[in-house]
Amino acid sequence: MLNIGNLNEVKNKTVRTNSYKIDLKNFQTIFILLGMIVLLSILTPAFLQVRNLMNVVRQVSLTAIIGMGVTMCIITTGIDLSSGSVVALVGVVAASFASDQYPLIVSIIIGLAVGALAGFINGSISALGGIPPFIATLGMMLAARGVALILSDGKPVTNISSSFEFIGGGYILRVPVPIYIMLLCAVISHILLKHTRYGKYVYAIGGNQQAAIVSGINVKKYLIMVYTFAGIMSAVSGIVLASRLSAGQPTAGVNYEMDAIASSVIGGTSLAGGIGTIPGTIIGALIIGVLNNGLVLLNVSPYVQQVLKGVIIVVAVLIDKRKKR
């Protein structure tokens, strides 16, 4: 028979937990980033200047924030192609409410709500309608851009208050505000993914959707939440961008989704689902940002830049994949 009465022994044993220890194996891409930084520091003295570095991170923050939401989509084996268009749409809408007429919070809340709605539609169409996220978000990519153009009549929405401009252009303790926003988003996203049921289910759905279903998880509900969150992240980025440009540009944010997806994948997120982290995504975004910056500083022709960027992104993922094997 089973030895059932022996539980006291177990209770005395404490289970160690290592959830705070960062496992370096999962962040090998950080060495790629460090390598690039060292190389650029040697090649061009302009790179290591604080001003330049701040600039890089500020630029990166836009796609890194989107990337956090996209990472969750990809972990569930999905994708979000609508981010760039949602950035533009939210920018236009938020800018429309950003004059001195309204308190700052109004424009932010309306902007976030528009992003959440776009994401909610993405999630509902794919989860409830059974349409692949690739298609659902492709539809949103076109539609959201169209709505942005309609609302703004194709022209930038200006007349915004200085307090709104502070979000993307201001500094606190000499550090650009977008960097704080990125860090805040990162902390929230990371906690959501690692320490809440929501996060566990995101990984479970991506790792084995069938297992999630038979474990009694409402998979559709959580998928809708994932896309809604991704929409909100795009909205954050959209507000920051509009503020930085001092205008809601209906043509802004083009190809942002591609940089966000690339950040996520370079950062170790698997398109096959079930794997991915927020710190990884940020490192991925930094790799792309540093690369962009370095190529500019080195006076590489913009045409060649594109080619190099494409090659380096693929190589980074290739190296990561090899190491994992």
Partner: protein, 491 residues
Amino acid sequence: MIKISKEFPGVRALNNVDFRVRKGTIHALMGENGAGKSTLMKILIGLYKADSGEIKFNGELVKFQSIQDALNAGISMIHQELSPVPYMTVAENIFLGREPRHKNSFWVNDREMERKTVELLKQLEISIDPREKMLNLSTAYMQMVEIAKAISYDSKLIIMDEPTSAITEKEVEHLFRIIKWLKSKGVAIIYISHKMDEIFKIADEITVLRDGELVDTVLSSQTSREKLIEMMVGRELKHLFPKEEAQIGDVILEIKNFSRGKKFKNVNIKVRKGEILGVAGLMGAGRTEVMESLFGIVPPDTGEVYINGKKVNIRSPQDAVKHKIGFLTEDRKFSGLYLPLSVKDNMSIVNINNYIKTGLINHKALEDDCNKLVEMLNIKTPGLDQIVNNLSGGNQQKVLIARWLLINADILILDEPTRGIDVGAKAEIHRLMSNLAKQGKAIIMISSELPEILGMSDRIVVMHEGRLTGELSRAEASQENIMKYATGMVS
């Protein structure tokens, strides 16, 4: 469960089935594949909805809308297809869907989850680290985790769908101890299995389903193997292994000194025309690996292949096909069929080049040949354009055999040709094998079912840990001496 009926498009899966399980008993549910066992259970746990009928649990009428409802009511299930989330830990897998949280917050309490897992595993005497990722576990351990998970719901009824399909004998005994312990606590178990030994060892009652209908519920002490088989099949099983004598000719294929890494070493095998060669051995003995090397999927490190006495060089499946070797893989859905494609496409995929005239496919000639094969193999399909996914397992297997007949393969390697198909279809595949042998084809059959090996083979070779340990003629072979070779007791 009373008068349960369920229809799927085109199929009547269950017809007025009554099924009841008593508290604190172990109730075996048996039937051929497609008899409706899994459907019945999926209705019970709220995964499917019945078209008609009702379910009473503990005397109360219940209507489960979702798995969550069934779990809350105290019914859990170990699913036949393992359902781990590979990149999550053992603890996360076990508590998936009901992670403990810190008081009044959304923050998952990993520490508590791991502590509970340790406690649970300890209680079940399973030694696995709760923080190990599922993908690092062996299949057997994954299965044990699934079992632990089902038990951890503290259910009053646990459904086990073929829980022993992936575990070794030692773990089976362990599982049986757990089952008996659960029974002593008053838990009811529904145990689905094809393995007679297990059923008789553990079940109190047995219910048999056939073609979506209830055949009978009997006490296991008052029945026998033969009776059960008869109930399941609805006919006597005289023709289970219709092996017919075939003219055995010259050696058509010989492999010499085949070795590949740690998988197998110095394997020598000969097959003659018209011969069915059985390859026996335990899981992981290297049988499939040898055949994969023969077929060029993973070429061997060393070794030679002779066909009709001539040395040939096979480095890829294309080479093997050129030499008229056909390979029916072990897992037809994974590496054999194109499930969303038609019967015709599945048959012709290897040989499409022979039906191309001036760059285009000659559909007429192709369809004529396919139709001949459908008739010859007695494939039950409404037409060549039927999607293969909609065929039964036995017919899918025939489509795959037809694929190799279309290239006129002389040597057929069949890896577990009847796994997962029901008894009736099995007999048909066996008849087909006999016929093919009669036509002078050489057949190499890997099988883990000893009765099949004994029933169908002219000659049997046995493998153990990558080596050929024995060779037996049809007359010499018996379950006992095959097992001796297969376990390495003699070599």
